[in-house]
């Protein structure tokens, strides 16, 4: 883990999923990490711009990477699966193809935008705290053992696949979330759909199909006895949390499964205040029982 990162929270974490931003800042702060702001960035474009306007996607990515570079950081910290894949994909294309990089920089210069020299790496918060000294540091600050809490990890897609662009762990047998859940004192719950798609990219354009995907992790995790689900991606979170009621309709089942952002789970274990973790912003409410298991002070009586 680095001492400082260029911080790229992405759109959802900054807007509808603000709770993720506040939790991430808090947990990184507690880990002693400096997050350098990047006030001029745009949305990474998600799979949408990458598909619709591939060259524009390449350029706005280069702009973001260049800003991080100029801020004196060698690594961008992301807190979203999609941002991670998008920036890493563009980064690889630029770093592997000097002609491409030159062409892109030429265009950037023409519009008065700073160029990118290829000196930045992009890493998700999940990777930084689930191994190495990041993991050790986290274990030190995870003072509130969430014993008794059963957590279903949901990886989603774009933090695992394609492995040749992400390469952090085996995409079919990932373990990073489980390691962190254990470090929080909680119990990871296994189920097959934890690496499948939540459907977010098509949840508006093809809601039926997305719901057909979404019911799988929700149903399986609930059946496996999970109290909560945790995910490293705010897009997955939005699907699993906000569309959960619709998924219940599709499945004809009740889930009542609160969805946590990874940073919220880590924050709870590290004793970060509820006002920062902002569970109130969730659509699928946390029950008192879950709040107790999360050792939230508002529920747990002082002993």
């Amino acid at each position: 883990m680095k001492d400082r990162y260029a911080y790229y929270p992405g759109c959802l974490a900054s807007l509808s999923q603000k709770e993720l931003d506040s939790s991430s800042r808090a947990i990184m702060g507690k880990l002693g990490v400096e997050l350098v702001e990047m006030p001029s960035v745009t949305c990474c474009g998600a799979g949408d711009i990458h598909e619709a306007k591939p060259d524009y996607y390449l350029h706005i990515s280069a702009r973001i990477l260049g800003q991080a570079e100029r801020s004196g950081c060698d690594t961008i910290l992301t807190i979203c699966n999609v941002c991670t894949l998008n920036l890493r994909q563009a980064n690889e294309r630029l770093r592997e193809n000097p002609e491409e990089l030159a062409r892109v920089n030429d265009n950037l210069q023409q519009t008065g935008i700073g160029t990118y020299q290829g000196g930045v790496d992009v890493r998700h918060l999940l990777w930084e705290v689930s191994t190495g000294d990041g993991y050790e540091r986290f274990k030190e600050i995870a003072v509130r053992s969430l014993e008794g809490l059963k957590v279903a990890p949901f990886y989603g897609c774009q933090i695992l696949r394609p492995a040749k662009l992400l390469g952090f762990e085996d995409p079919d047998r990932p373990e990073s979330l489980e390691r962190l859940i254990t470090a929080c004192g909680a119990e990871p719950v296994d189920y097959p759909a934890k690496v499948k798609c939540c459907g977010f990219p098509i949840v508006l354009a093809r809601e039926d199909v997305a719901l057909g995907e979404l019911v799988q992790p929700l149903s399986q995790a609930t059946e496996a006895g999970a109290d909560v689900m945790v995910t490293p991606c705010p897009l997955c979170h939005l699907s699993l949390d906000a569309w959960q009621a619709k998924a219940e309709n599709t499945a004809g089942e009740e889930f009542n499964l609160p969805i946590l952002h990874l940073a919220q789970l880590l924050g709870a274990a590290a004793g970060i205040e509820e006002s920062t973790l902002k569970f109130r912003r969730h659509i699928t409410r946390l029950s008192d029982d879950v709040k107790e298991k999360l050792k939230l002070p508002s529920v747990v009586s002082a002993d």
Partner: protein, 329 residues
């Protein structure tokens, strides 16, 4: 070396399935296919699977190992044996099972045929070859690598939820023609592919890229089709409209204008039906103030960048004439 595996059997005559374990000896270099051959030859001749080339070009032997589609002939068994892992071998997903590891490929071929998978060349072809630059053909070389094995389809999350989705293999095949400088039917093809169960149904799970044993990257081919649709101005599908919001948000302020996403994707009428849903989000504070959207610093330069790149993108007509030119070029 000793190899143990479990095979998901299915007997169509009795409609019975079961998991059966086998342990056999095979050379250290044995692939999954080699081990299956030893099982079939020496233990149980009724174990059924397809095979032919054993060198990963014919596409016959697609099957799942521990739930992930692979080519049996390309999967070395020694690493698993050394790990003490006993894999479960099962048929590919998203296709009906005929017997044991053999799936019915008819639905797969039906989708292949649905994308009109042959070159429609110009009415006046040259006598000799079309004169095409290597780099033009390189554009479709990845898609042309496809051996139609079905590994991408096996795990397609979208197809699992919607069996009518054309799917990664058919769409990659379609891109092979849309991107072929000699094909005259580009617009027609794109119109079909932009319809229901087409390009915009892809959920971007990237399972296809991950599973493909030949490096075709079908998801990337689908993305190329999306880009072609935009160049062709075929942007009526909800999926395309969804993408437009992302694009315009960047140069209008920086971050995604989430509040515009629903109405602009599914239209005003659709948006009205989603009002209860939106209110739910609003109550939780999840709806950003539409009247003061995010404005990043220095965003004006993004608009300039956008305009520059749009000016650089050749129009459809320009690309078509710049393409294959056989007549006296």
């Amino acid at each position: 070396m000793e190899f143990t595996l479990k095979i998901e059997r299915y007997d169509p005559d009795t409609d019975q399935g079961r998991l059966q374990e086998f342990t056999v000896d095979a050379p250290e270099t044995a692939t999954l296919l080699d081990v299956l051959d030893v099982v079939k030859d020496t233990v149980d001749g009724s174990v059924t699977y397809r095979k032919s080339c054993r060198m990963a070009v014919c596409g016959s032997c697609g099957m799942r190992m521990d739930g992930a589609a692979v080519l049996a002939c390309k999967t070395p068994m020694a690493p698993l044996a050394e790990e003490g892992r006993v894999p479960v071998i099962s048929p590919m997903g998203n296709l009906p099972v005929i017997k044991d590891l053999v799936v019915d490929m008819d639905p797969f071929w039906a989708k292949f045929k649905a994308v009109k998978p042959w070159l429609e060349e110009d009415d006046r072809p040259p006598v000799k070859e079309w004169r095409v630059q290597q780099e033009e053909l390189d554009r479709i070389m990845k898609e042309a690598l496809c051996i139609q094995c079905g590994c991408c389809v096996s795990e397609c999350n979208s197809m699992e939820a919607d069996p009518d989705f054309l799917g990664p293999a058919a769409l990659a095949k379609a891109q092979r023609f849309v991107g072929d400088a000699r094909d005259r039917d580009r617009s027609e093809r794109l119109r079909t592919l932009n319809g229901p169960h087409g390009v915009w149904d892809c959920t971007r799970c990237y399972f296809c890229n991950q599973r493909c044993p030949k490096g075709v990257d079908p998801r990337d081919a689908i993305a190329k089709l999306g880009a072609e649709a935009f160049r062709e101005r075929l942007t009526r599908d909800e999926g395309a409209k969804h993408a437009k919001v992302f694009v315009s948000s960047t140069y209008r302020g920086g971050y995604l204008r989430e509040t515009e996403l629903v109405p602009k994707t599914i239209g005003p009428i659709g948006a009205i039906t989603q009002i209860p849903f939106a209110l739910q989000l609003a109550r939780a504070g999840k709806v950003p103030n539409p009247l003061s959207p995010h404005k990043a610093k220095d965003n004006a330069e993004v608009k300039r960048l956008w305009k520059l790149l749009e000016a650089q993108t050749p129009t459809t007509r320009e690309r078509a004439t710049r393409g294959a030119d056989g007549a006296g070029a």
